[in-house]
């Protein structure tokens, strides 16, 4: 697998995490079919084609579904969302920058990499409102 910077790795997940730590949100694309793959894999699901290339996600997406998780007082509720990335893959994430109960299915969002705990994490912010 070749990434946008020309490095190669067969260990897809480690490669993805290393890129994320450098501030890059990568996706894989099957060279032959064009299918976008997330989470990263060693081969295209369905075909087993190992010819995958890395590319940097636009970060743009749309909320496919969302649930608001209640917590015991005084902890604030938080949202858990499924985001359809513009490139075609879907991921679980969270929409920040807006009250949880204002997150709507169909909302356009943009990815942002934050530090949470001791690891980088991809969250999304609403755009175009």
């Amino acid at each position: 697998m070749k990434d946008a910077g020309g490095a190669t790795s067969d260990a897809a997940e480690a490669h993805w995490r290393a890129a994320l730590a450098e501030g890059r949100f990568l996706l894989q694309r099957a060279v032959n079919s064009g299918t976008v793959v997330f989470p990263p894999r060693v081969a295209e699901p369905g075909t087993g084609d190992p010819d995958l290339e890395w590319f940097e996600a636009s970060g743009m997406g749309t909320v496919y579904s969302v649930t608001i998780v209640a917590q015991r007082h005084p902890e604030a509720p938080y949202n858990v969302a499924l985001i359809d990335l513009d490139e075609g893959a879907r991921m679980m994430s969270r929409v920040d920058g807006v009250a949880s109960d204002a997150v709507r299915i169909g909302m356009r969002v943009r990815a942002r990499i934050i530090a949470e705990g001791d690891a980088p994490l991809i969250v999304f912010d609403p755009v175009g409102r």
């Binding site: 579904s65 649930t67 858990v80 679980m92």
Partner: protein, 383 residues
Amino acid sequence: MGGHFPRGSSAIAGLATYGIGEAPGFSSLELAAKAGLLAVADAGLTLGDVDALFICLPDDFFAGLTFAEYLGLTPRFTDNNRTGGSAFMSHMITAALALSAGYIDVALIAYGSNQRTNGGRLATSITSNRWDAPYRPLFPLSSYALAAARHMHEYGTTRAQLAEVAVAARQWANGNPEAFAKGPLTIEDCLASRMISTPIARHDCCLVTDGAAAIVMTRADRARDLARPSVPVLGAAAATWWNSIAQTGDITTTAAAESGARAYTAAGIGPADIQVVQLYDAFTINTILFLEDLGFCPKGEGGRFVSDGRIAPGGALPVNTNGGGLSCCHPGMYGLFAIVEAARQIRGEAANQLPSVDVALAHGNGGTLSSQATVILGSAATV
């Protein structure tokens, strides 16, 4: 072409439940053993007749080995397949094929859990995968909530329609002495119950109980000569489409659409022929999704379909006549309890017995709407 199932060649010859509700002091293994022994006795067989074991326990990944040792079984075939709460339907498929092939003669399928009196929470070692976990979804509840939220968005399904499922389950439970949750329950009660992960509130969730169940399967010709009415397996099929809820295509359509269709084909019947339906209702949305995916109503119509008591006692389609996971019992992996209730309806000995049931469907769900498996049972008259 694959997928062939030996229609009617094997049958449920014995069944039992044990310790449903609260069974203080019992381990999961002890509960499963009790149910297993009762099912073998119900069939009029002895432990020495059992030559194949199918089991999963919530707290033991080697349960097949542990259970065989515990009861002194030396099975020629041991299946510890774990596809979550649908595992038992998959066990039945494997058992039916092995019985039909003459590889085994008597299959014991057993399950037990003490999760209520030993902690009071769903006993599972399964969690969100590492891609999902940083976002702190409640596992497995938020996965079902995401499916329900999308179903509401696409089809206009309402929380009151979800509540209809819980109310119907409670009404069935009120007629079942074995059921754990009894008493009046209204739509308003459900809507007012504590929100957990929108749109799923407390009354949309299955119980946390203890309990054990077991069935014995033999070839159909042998089952006919045994102690109890034979319950032939007319068709069965399983399907897996994903594990994480983030990896679905259309989140409102589950692999039950495939498992159900294949099970109907195997049985040579369709949804209109099913007289009673037992579905794995871990959450109220499950019942709606599975009624759609199994062909009882069109996709998106499930919420309207369950309204006005249609699946409750006296309704047009009896669903979860024991009270289901919502109000009868939910010892962690409910699938086997759905099978037992379907078989009891055919044997004519269910607590809420329906008149002359010849065809019943039991559907299991595993993971987070991930693994789906459907079993269609018949009376002796159907083969």
